[in-house]
């Protein structure tokens, strides 16, 4: 059994994400609307509502999950949250925390050349913006 101990570190992490995302994540009522609205949820290791819960408790382990990277920033969750929370922004805030350490999530170099030729520019630019620091 894990012991639940919320330390000031956890609180700081929550505050940081709150600040970056300009949200009060504490208000999430864990209704699951975001998860069931998400087109990418099948690809995620934790659901968006779980991601919100982990941030709410300040669990930094959330940084090791895949969900925030799988998020396509489609804002479906955002327009449906009954508490008016912007889950997409929270995912962005988490990505930023990672990327600002000058880390990249994907290696652009690994994308085959022929793909690059046909892909629309906006796809490439946004992928770079979302996945690289």
């Amino acid at each position: 059994m894990k012991k639940l101990i919320i330390t000031s570190e956890n609180v700081k992490f929550l505050q940081k994400i709150n600040e970056l995302a300009d949200q009060d994540i504490t208000l999430c009522e864990q209704c699951g609307t975001c998860s069931a609205s998400c087109p990418m949820v099948a690809e995620m290791d934790i659901t968006p509502s779980q991601l919100m819960r982990m941030v709410q408790l300040g669990l930094k382990e959330v940084m090791e999950t895949k969900a925030m990277w799988v998020c396509a920033s489609c804002y479906t969750c955002t327009v449906r949250c009954p508490r008016g929370l912007d889950v997409a922004k929270v995912a962005e805030a988490l990505r930023q925390v990672y990327l600002r350490k000058a880390l990249d999530y994907i290696e652009i170099k690994k994308i085959p050349k022929y793909e690059f030729v046909s892909l629309p520019q906006i796809a490439i630019v946004s992928a770079c913006r979302k996945f690289t620091g």
Binding site: E19, L20, A21, D22, P39, M40, E43, V70, A72, S73, C74, Y75, T76, T78, V79, D86, A88, K89, E92, A93, Q96, I106, I111, E115, S118, L119, P120, Q121, I122, A123, I124, V125, S126, A127, R129, K130, F131
Partner: protein, 298 residues
């Protein structure tokens, strides 16, 4: 009427057909797109974090271009900038909203730029669909020479013109703007329950299998309701729904391909414009066969 027009990178390359068809139909409606001089990439996805101002500089710089055009009397519409690409629309509008709502941010962004005049936060960003609605679907209907009778079309909206709420141009849960427009063109409009479901967006770069899966859902649901064609108004949606059909076929060999139009291409067809200018060659699934079968082009 001359209006400032922001093309964005994609419309100059993989979505050239979107631009040419849009310019062609606009001409018919008495609107001239005046391309921004020295425009830069908008950044494609607006910066979501509260402390990230630097990524708003590019969009705002483009809006300053409009200010300059207004001063030089290069446009008649003095308050607005038109976009075709949904992503550019979303990015520009969101940045614009941010500085409109937050004077401090506006000041900071103005300070981040050296060579530009200050942005006054008075420009409004609109999408082509909004302009068409404003012109009036009645007026558009009057221009139809070649009604799209019997053509069963399912409009697809994607995310960026619907969400988030403050940016969207229509009801995010039940958008109707393309439906009304297509009805004016005489088409039989099919309501696809997946019309607002995300196509996977930029995940197409590193996870094309998932995007293909989403495209499969979106397209087969439309087909189930009887659709023969899809319309979009975004180069990325278009790519994911059209080009990724190749990937769909790999996984679902029974899948029947379906043409994906830019909405402007169908308007042009209805207006009876010469289809040679409409860039059907740039579409992945050939739309010409369907149009020929329906007697809409020769």
């Amino acid at each position: 009427m001359r209006i400032a027009y922001y093309p964005g990178c994609t419309l100059k390359t993989t979505a050239k057909n979107f631009e040419t068809s849009a310019i062609a139909i606009a001409q018919q409606l008495g609107v001239e797109f005046v391309e921004l001089p020295r425009w830069t990439c908008c950044g494609t996805v607006f910066s979501l974090t509260s402390d990230d101002l630097i990524h708003h500089v590019a969009p705002i710089r483009n809006l300053i271009r409009v200010q300059e055009m207004v001063k030089r009397k290069q446009v008649d519409d003095e308050k607005r900038i038109l976009t075709l690409c949904s992503m550019c629309f979303n990015t520009l509008k969101r940045s614009n909203l941010r500085v409109k709502e937050n004077i401090e941010d506006l000041k900071k962004i103005n300070n981040l730029m050296y060579l530009e005049e200050d942005y006054c936060a008075e420009i409004e960003v609109i999408h082509l669909l909004q302009l068409l609605k404003e012109i009036g679907f009645d007026k558009i209907k009057a221009k139809v020479k070649n009604p799209l009778n019997n053509l069963k079309v399912a409009p697809y909206y994607g995310c960026m013109i619907l969400r988030p709420l403050e940016v969207g141009i229509d009801d995010p849960e039940d958008p109707t703007i393309q439906r009304d427009l297509l009805e004016a063109l005489g088409a039989e409009v099919i309501d696809n329950p997946y019309k607002k479901v995300c196509c996977g967006s930029y995940q197409t770069v590193n996870n094309k299998e998932k995007v293909a899966e989403l495209a499969f859902d979106i397209l087969t649901h439309a087909q189930r309701e009887g659709a023969e064609a899809i319309t979009t108004c975004c180069p990325l949606c278009s790519f994911n729904l059209d080009f990724r059909q190749k990937e769909v076929l790999k996984k679902h060999p029974d899948f029947k391909q379906i043409p994906v139009f830019y909405i402007t291409q169908l308007i042009a067809v209805a207006f009876g414009l010469d289809n040679k200018t409409l860039g059907f060659d740039q579409n992945y699934v050939d739309p010409k066969l369907l149009l020929k079968n329906k007697g809409l082009i020769k």
